[in-house]
Symmetry: C2
Subunit: 497 residues, 2 copies
């Protein structure tokens, strides 16, 4: 097994570089002064080049072949690790280095233009830059599709969610497309009949919110010896298993969204922190793709954090922290505030009920863009039509429409579906966890996430990338692959039950 062992060393090195990049990204979002931006891009680009050179080195191919011939000397995890190595190598070698560099450069430029153009609602300035990014991404998608033996768009999906195909996504999204309009109408009707929940009014000191965030992390069980919470413009989770960095943001006029962001990111963090320790440095030790990662943030935020039982537990803690007075602080009002549905323009502000519509719209558009059935110029119209069709509203501006997301600016096509696939997996996992351990919901009701997290530790976190696909992992954990019925049942129970 000497070929395999040599490969382990190579991938350990790649992992070290990935981790270093993760710290550099975190620092960029949390601490870096503006003047350091150019140097930081250079550092990240150089580290990417170094990694790319290592994995596309001519010797790797024969090491992979050699290791494949040693398979009978490898154990099951080593075989899985070799499969993941090969997957990464295929993605890296499929594309000429020139295209990768072109995308990095065009993406950085497009993102820079986007920041200004979005602020000024200026689609015209933005479009040519996005067009360039789309053009390069099409070439990359074609090259990867050829290497992986799948369609160009499926090759992009595979980058974020190994083995995922648009055929699978189509089935699920078609189902949701049929289900959601009527369901959403029913939810809105029901909530209208109950009247608006009372708004929490007041000023909520940032210092108090920060203490509250730490309290929330204690409840979830986040280990401060292996991670930390900071503040950034957009909440995110970075780092690696022994040093997970999560962030949130604060607004003095409103605190619930920050609490929910902390819950969301802590779900990502608990996944990272509980990956299999003996495989930290290897591909098989990493999370099983972005839809599973999103399932962990969403089970923690949506299934557990917005669960009425948990909100009833935390309501008096929130009230006490801010010295809140009046009916708006009643637990039942907070339950309604945390589960209020309302069609809106902006995806990141969307509720659980309307969120999938935002994703389905983006999924169709990016498929057509990559497939060449749509051009960047068509975006504003397509967006307006889609929003009208799926949510019954038309964005007032391009800034609040097709220019709202950062993803496409750097070529991250194929990522959006993982948000809704993650929501579906989250519903499946929560249902199975409840079924297996009767203490999951009572735990939430007493502010104890341990019963749920312990189940996830065993079924998801500790499995790393042992299974080849997200569906294999979820099937092993719940008995079923991607299952939109469980998700719909959750939505119906929570919003119409």
């Amino acid at each position: 097994m000497k070929h395999y062992q040599t490969l382990e060393k190579v991938f350990q090195k790649l992992n070290d570089i990935d981790q270093a990049k993760s710290v550099l990204h975190w620092d960029m979002a949390v601490h870096m002064p503006a003047g350091g931006a150019e140097a930081r891009s250079e550092q990240l680009a150089t580290l990417s080049d170094v990694s790319h050179a290592i994995i596309t080195d001519r010797g790797i191919k024969s090491l992979l072949e050699g290791a494949a011939s040693e398979k009978n000397t490898l154990d099951a995890w080593q075989v899985a690790n070799l499969r993941e190595m090969k997957r990464r190598w295929q993605h890296a070698t499929a594309v000429p280095q020139r295209l990768v560099s072109d995308l990095t450069r065009a993406g950085a430029e497009c993102e820079m233009v986007w920041r200004k153009a979005r602020a000024e609602n200026d689609f015209k300035s933005f479009a040519p830059h996005l067009k360039k990014v789309v053009g390069i991404t099409r070439e990359i998608a074609k090259a990867k599709g050829a290497a992986l033996g799948c369609s160009p768009y499926d090759a992009l999906l595979d980058q974020y969610d190994p083995g995922r195909t648009s055929a699978q996504v189509d089935v699920v999204f078609k189902d949701l497309e049929a289900f959601l309009p009527e369901f959403t109408g029913q939810v809105l009707e029901k909530q209208r009949s109950q009247g608006e929940p009372l708004a929490l009014e007041g000023s909520f000191p940032i210092e108090t919110q920060k203490q509250l965030s730490e309290k929330v992390l204690d409840i979830v069980g986040f280990d401060r010896n292996k991670g930390r919470l900071d503040t950034s413009h957009h909440p995110f989770c970075g780092g690696y298993p022994t040093d997970v960095r999560i962030t949130t943001r604060y607004n003095e006029n409103e605190f619930l969204s920050s609490v929910m962001a902390v819950l969301h990111e802590s779900g990502h963090a608990m996944y990272e922190a509980a990956l299999p320790a003996s495989w930290y440095s290897q591909p098989v030790g990493q999370a099983r793709g972005m839809s599973v990662h999103e399932s962990q943030s969403l089970i923690t935020e949506m299934q557990a954090g917005r669960n009425p039982g948990f909100i009833r537990y935390i309501a008096p803690i929130l009230q006490k922290a801010f010295g809140g007075k009046g009916d708006s602080w009643d637990a039942e009002n907070l339950v309604r505030l945390c589960n209020q549905a309302k069609p809106s323009f902006i995806r990141v502000d969307a509720d659980e009920v309307t969120y999938p519509a935002h994703i389905i719209l983006r999924y169709y558009i990016e498929r057509y863009l990559i497939g060449g059935e749509m051009e960047v110029e068509d975006l504003p119209d397509a967006w307006a039509q889609g929003m009208q069709k799926f949510l019954g509203i038309t964005p007032d501006t391009d800034a609040n429409g097709c220019m709202q997301d950062i993803h496409w600016t750097d070529g991250s096509f194929g990522y959006f579906p993982t948000y809704t696939l993650g929501a579906i997996y989250a519903a499946q996992l929560f249902a199975s966890a409840k079924e297996t351990n009767g203490d999951v919901v009572p735990g939430l009701e007493r502010g104890d996430f341990a019963p749920m997290i312990t189940w996830l530790n065993e079924k998801i976190h500790q499995q790393g990338s042992y299974y080849a696909t997200a569906d294999d992992l979820i099937t092993a954990a719940t008995g079923k692959p991607l299952d939109v019925e469980t998700y719909k049942a959750h939505l119906k129970a929570r919003y119409l039950g």
Copy 2:
């Protein structure tokens, strides 16, 4: 000049990796949770390996030769850059990779043992680990000496202070050895006759100290768009020209040492921030070695910051910040507090008068250790004798004696002399700045460092590594190479004048 241009690209890459490492080091000292230590060491080791592989690549030698033959097409800065490239390449290729890795590993282990052993005053546990580090460093020193055509110890000096020789250091240190005992006696006698300055008593809130630190940075002219101040266990300066990271530490019972640490680190920072922008990514754009770097921290802290004129300016600001009352807050008392001499065991706590003795002791010991004239076992006795000889005191424990510094634990032999060489250069530079610009001292008296900093910008900072050695740079700036007389004159004027 195509060989030269290719080399520039290689060294830009190396610079990016160095910068990434610098951020990782900063994060480790400022933010990293304890659990992340092992992964961070791995990341740093891998990045070092990557850099080493790049610079020792076979192709570099012929590129250097090719570039040398193109010399007549290069301008003066490019020629200087080529010289610096060659210097780095010589250091890197002189030593087999095995020795570099051995030192990294042994150094990390020795440092870990040292932390515990120092806390427990346990030289016996520490000694075998230091012995290992010394053994490997001797081999490295020999290999580098052979490649550079100098003695093993001089090769170590050259790592931190290019071109520095122990022959130069000997001359200066012998002079100080003769000068300091009598001078120190006179200073102590004079200060005794004046009675002890009044201690500043009270509790000094950390928040107020932090605001004060930022005020001090404003005075020095530190640009927050290109850097930041944070808190760490030991003050340091990291980062790079467009993103300089400085740190200090706070103690609620005492604030002057933190103010002085901020001044010290800001001197390093102002150097980094004003290096020549068109050469940021190249060796010639870097600071001219550690003795010049230390001269910048010491001119800012010792020459300017502890200058009576500046202390008289800042005294009422300090008093107001803490609401201080009583005679101890009088400017003249603060002047005395900031310039009080007293022999003590610990180098980092030493004052300007007694500091050189700590360095001279370490210089002799490390030369003997590397030369094989002394063994690790001899350290405690040699330390006790040296401290008695140079400062008239004997450390109460090894923890307060030969185990107090981190430097040797990871093999940083040859670094200590730069502290005192920097102090000498600082005195020379301050004398020349004063002479050239009559507003330097009046500037300090009104809280304006700009006259001094502007002079340093031009004479030192903007020169990068254009000059081959620190002495060449200082000669160009002041008309003289390393000049102990100016330093002694400064000491006499400040402490006996």
